[in-house]
Amino acid sequence: MIAEAGLAALWLAAALAALQLALACGLGGEQGKSIRAVRAVAVAQGLITLLAFAALIELFLRSDMSVLLVAENSHSRKPWLYKFAGTWGNHEGSMLLWVTVLAVAGAIVALFERRLDHKTLGASLGAQASLALGFFAFLLIASNPFERLDPAPLDGRGLNPLLQDPGLAFHPPTLYLGYVGLSVAFSLAVGGLIRGNVGPAIARAMRPWVLGAWVLLTLGITAGSYWAYYELGWGGWWFWDPVENASLMPWLAATALLHSVNVLAGRGGLRAWTMMLALVAFSMSMIGTFLVRSGILTSVHSFAVDPLRGTFILALLALYIGAALALFGLRIAHVKEGAPFEIVSREGGLVANNLLLSVILGIVFVGTLYPLVAEALSGEKLSVGPPYFNSVASPLALVLAALMLIAPQLKWRRDAKPILPRLAPGLLVATAVLIGTILLAPGIGILPRFGLMIGAALLPASLLPLVGRSLRRTPLPIWGMALAHFGVAVAILGMASDSAFTQEKLTAARPGDRVEIGPWLVEFRQVLPLAGPNWTALEAELRASRGSGVAVLRPQSRYFVDPPTTTNEAAIDTSWNGQLYAVLGEPSDQGRWQLRLWWKPFVTLIWLGGFLIALGGSLALLGRVFRRRSHGFYRAEASE
């Protein structure tokens, strides 16, 4: 019954999306009436889609095995949290989540966006409805989540044990919220281009969505990176895997958009460029979803591959992105450019930021798709790995970070004051780090060394925009910017420290053996069997000691029964200056065990930095929404 209700809700929501599109195209009569109608339909569509998603969650919580999706992906004995998270831990459920976020985002725009003129808002809501319509069609035609299974099996077929992890329960929805939040920027850009209204009003409407989506993408990527780090047991935190790149590309585009949208909102500049970025950011989200869902690129993330679904999403994204880019090409010539500015100015810095981010985006895009293109053109099979990405993208990222030493301190339009005094604190720190690392660690590579220098220099430099301001009256977005830039500095320090100072040891150890790594002396004490709710494991006990303290690490090799899978559960000891990371491998002959140990100084700064960046973004978002509210209130009063 719930399944049928859910399916009916989905059809109804699709019909409402079609109605919304028709009304927005002006088929609903008089303009003043129809914007109200468009708004109402958008809200109804959002609510009903939410209802369909709630129905699917309920089916998973009840373990209703007469529903195919539940039977294939859940199990009645699974812990509650994973039944719940299992709703989106599969193709159909995740696509329903996607379209739910899309519809709800549209509803929120319809409810709260009061500053845009009706025509532009109507066109934007129409664009949002057409996006939703396509994905509703995809769900209803090619990925029905509510399909029944008759006869119902006694129990389900479980969930990939790698996915039974609290972090992972919330990693995909966070990313999805971010991906789909960018759809609003896309729709607003389309609406603005259709109506020939590309200006500060569009940018102000777009800004909170870009900020919110970007914060969620940042959190999602940071959490995903930490998950891969401790769950895969490979000791790395970023693998340039196609699926990771699929989340990085929208993030890069959103980061560029986040910066350029401020120029448009505040100064009226960078109009064409900001619209392009708004289109590209959500396009990258769709392309990312497509790459992940179609299984077209070989990846450690395995998803069910279904050519029909791949073709369907490809057709959708070709249609949407193609139409939007064609619209851009046709209309952008009519957009007036904003106020001029000199190269040495805040705008100049932001343009440089945008160019660098776009080039990095291009590098990641080309690297991710190159194997596909190369095989299509020459039939040659190859893969593009970390050496390419690291050596091409990292130097550019460092240049970008170096730019952050000064650009946020520049004035708008034109900055005639000398640069050097404002650069001095950063330069002093960078020089000190250079001398320090040459003396203490002469052997480290050039990139990590520059990373340490620039990261450290950015710590004070990121806070300089706050200097000379009355801190109580400094707007929240400025605080947010300083905090986010400080987070970038922290993350860069973590990455550089990890690649410069990590020590790794692989040994075949017998119980009683001692291994030295970094400042630690690790004693391998014993291996014991262990049983969990749906797994059994062999657990090693390691006693790690250094000068002051002792830590006990218990890495496991876990065997899941249903479906049969082995995972390595790394054991990690975190201290203020780094992490000791241990993985228990296979038993080898004569009572020895493969034991892999890493000492990673300051590696935690990577994720701490990511978290600070997201926190900074949240502060800025709070500032925007709060100010926006008060403005809206003021205007509503004035118009009464």
């Binding site: 497509f290 179609s294 077209i296 791949g310 952008i332 596909l372 299509a376």
Partner: protein, 175 residues
Amino acid sequence: MNRLTRFLPLFILFAFVGAVAWRLSSPADEKIQSKMIGRAVPAFTLASAVPGKPGLSSKDLASGSPRMVNVFASWCVPCIAEAPLLAELKARGVAIDAIAVRDRPEDVAQFLAERGDPFMRIGADPESRAQLALGSSGVPETFIIDGKGVIRYQHMGPIEPGDVSALIKQWEEAR
């Protein structure tokens, strides 16, 4: 901004969609074919893998008539499955040599005693060097090499009943 720049992103999208549509229409072939096909067998000399049978060197493979080389191991389960089909190929006149990968003489001898021995020469390749030189990425694999010592064909994975006629055809063509 001139017209070309304005539409550039659209062209990039077309290229992307084209490449991806091509991939969707021709699903990925996970096998990695040897890059050595069409080239001469790289020089190697392998000692005998089992007492009483000669070893194998690259010179033996340029004997004027085509030869088949089976890359196998006694520890390889699919190799057991293809053993009767190798015997059938031999019965139909194909000259077969073998490379035993990462194996021990006594294990090879036992494998041949149990599963039959269709091979003229068997070279021992304890570190997979000759295997890698041929461009083989696993066991079992079967190569066809023409009379001049040029690699003509690579069959990956165990030979199945349906493959026999194709292998005979390749062998005839290598003459």
